[in-house]
């Protein structure tokens, strides 16, 4: 459905996307992960045919988005990060008018609007202006709006940023249903749990490049250990203890507030630590997550946009 090779975007001197290759198959749920400024949103804009690429090749359903913009956009549903619902209109009008932008007829749109309001669980907000909706409702309406042209590919840019847990779960549920219906999803996110929930396959981006690619499970086994042992000795002692724990586990990371040991068996590793005489103030054995992969690949330093 989507094929990118050597895809590049430069803004003047700055290279936002530095020659990436990926492909997305029909019905797949594909994730773009990365810290702020990694080039995710720029990649999304190139896929959605709203930004021209500076180099490489990109095909959406075998069409070039740079030269066949309107056709490519007719195939896509776009759910942008910033809210750009039409605040001067009601929920139903938002859906209807957006369908008109695609040239869809009134007879097609009347039942479609009802169907989409039901999908977004907003039937009782039909004639309410958008301003009166909660954040979660707005996001659901935005997704419904993106579906008005019955797209084969739905592009979601950080779909649950800023939502409370209930709203996130409702949204994920809606996205699962779409996936079951065969809609191809492309999602950018920096929430690791979201990526694990939603994505069959993902790429981790940093500074415009792809750092890793695979399913959440393969990425975890490739770039992290099965389990992680977290140890706390107090801010003052962590570094000192770290030096004494060499040899336990595959890898260790010493953070100011805790030590992370990447191990296959967390309990066994904890016993070994205690066996060397270092009783931690607090300890935790957990499964390795995509977050560990992410932090390993993109580093822990704070990224400012």
């Amino acid at each position: 459905m989507i094929r990118a090779s050597g895809l590049t975007k430069r803004y003047g001197e700055f290279t936002a996307v530095a020659g990436i290759d990926f492909a997305v198959a029909r019905g797949e749920s594909f994730g773009l992960l990365g810290p702020n400024g990694a080039g995710k949103s720029t990649t999304m804009r190139m896929i959605s045919a709203t930004t021209l690429r500076s180099g490489g090749d990109l095909r959406i359903l075998d069409r070039d988005p740079d030269t066949h913009g309107p056709e490519v956009r007719a195939h896509l549903g776009v759910v942008p990060q910033e809210g750009n619902l039409d605040t001067e209109l009601t929920c139903a009008e938002n859906l209807y008018v957006y369908g008109r932008y695609f040239g869809l007829s009134r007879r097609f749109l009347r039942p479609k609007v009802d169907e989409l309001l039901a999908f977004a669980q907003l039937e009782d907000k039909r004639d309410v202006k958008v301003d009166a909706l909660s954040g979660g409702m707005k996001r659901r309406l935005t997704i419904a709006r993106g579906l008005v042209n019955e797209p084969e590919i739905l592009l979601l840019d950080e779909p649950t940023t800023g939502l409370d847990p209930q709203a996130r779960h409702i949204l994920w549920d809606r996205l699962f249903r779409l996936k079951e219906q065969g809609v191809t999803l492309v999602v950018t996110t920096h929430y690791m749990d979201e990526a694990e929930q939603l994505c069959d396959r993902l790429i981790v981006m940093d500074r415009g490049r792809i750092m890793a690619e695979g399913s959440p499970q393969t990425l975890i086994s490739e770039y992290s250990s099965r389990e992680v042992l977290e140890l706390r000795y107090g801010t003052g002692r962590n570094a000192e203890v770290a030096a004494q724990l060499e040899g336990i586990g595959q890898r260790m990371e010493a953070l100011p507030d805790r030590l992370l040991l990447y191990v296959d068996d967390g309990e066994a590793a904890l016993e070994a630590v205690v066996g060397r005489g270092f009783h931690p103030i607090a300890s935790l054995v957990r499964r390795s997550s995509l977050e560990d992969v992410f932090l390993r690949l993109t580093g822990r330093s704070l990224v400012d946009e």
Binding site: L52, P70, E71, D86, E93, Y98, G103, E150
Partner: protein
């Protein structure tokens, strides 16, 4: 065939046009935006829309009938001798058309562009930049026309219309509105802050006061007259005066040509700018 048209998918609709010249900037649907603006008018903006219309009416009442009683009749070189109210009425008609057109194409466009992110949403559909430009400008023209027709409806019973040619003032006001709307949206699309927009507004006031709306231009020195003749509001006023007084001459074509240039340049720059901003 009919069901095919009615239930055509977005992709089929887009593919029907692909390959045509300009398919990447124009999908043939500026009406979609006009319909959107009609909905917004009904849902949100009805009062604002109609409030803009009364301003020129107040000017007419205050100056035309208030000050006009003191002044008596007015005569501009080459024109008929008319009451002061009849003299300023065409000018206020032109101003109505201008105000209506600029209200949407400046402040509203600026708001939609920078706060509502409206064009981001529109441009991620299969619409093109020219659809968007024509739709938004077209809506501003409708507003300008509505103000002009409303103003004429108020003025006619007052006995300020002297010729059946005045009916042509309506399409003429449409041309004026189109010119101002196109130029207004083109300029607004290049602005990045409120302050710049305020400057545009600030320049409109002297144009309104000194474009021969309230007194004949022949009182000005020759040089000032030439400058004023270059201003769009003077062109509009001169065109509408000659129609409302029923004094047609070849200069009318000149005014129409003047606005044709505004329209073409305005639509072109708006389209280019929208493309540059939202389809970089």
């Amino acid at each position: 065939m009919i069901t095919q048209l009615v239930f055509a998918s977005a992709v089929e609709i887009a593919e029907r046009r692909s390959g045509r010249r300009g398919a990447s900037v124009y999908a043939g649907r500026p009406w979609a935006l006009i319909q959107r603006n009609l909905f917004a008018l009904r849902t949100s903006n009805a009062l604002v829309f109609f409030s803009g219309f009364v301003e020129p009416v107040f000017y007419l009442l205050a100056f035309g009938f208030g000050l006009g009683n003191v002044i008596g009749s007015v005569h501009e070189a080459g024109g008929p001798r008319v009451s002061y109210a009849a003299f300023i009425a065409p000018a206020l008609l032109a101003t109505s058309a201008m105000n209506g057109a600029l209200a949407d194409s400046t402040w509203n466009v600026f708001f939609k562009m920078h706060y509502a992110k409206f064009y981001n949403a529109v441009m991620s559909t299969s619409l093109g930049a020219l659809d968007t430009a024509l739709g938004e400008i077209g809506w501003a023209v409708i507003r300008g026309l509505a103000y002009a027709i409303g103003f004429l409806a108020v003025v006619s019973p007052l006995g300020l219309v002297h010729s059946w040619w005045a009916l042509l003032a309506i399409p003429a006001a449409g041309i004026v509105a189109f010119g101002f709307a196109a130029a207004g949206m083109a300029i607004t699309s290049y602005l990045t802050s409120h302050q710049q927009l305020n400057w545009v507004n600030f320049l409109l006031l002297p144009m309104f006061l000194f474009s021969g709306a309230f007194f004949p231009l022949d009182r000005y020195p020759w040089f000032a007259q030439q400058v004023i003749h270059a201003l769009p509001l003077w062109q509009a006023i001169a065109m509408l005066r000659s129609l409302m007084f029923g004094e047609l001459d070849i200069a009318l074509l000149g005014h129409v040509a003047y606005f044709a240039v505004f329209i073409v340049v305005g639509v072109t720059f708006t389209t280019r700018r929208l493309n540059a901003l939202f389809l970089r």
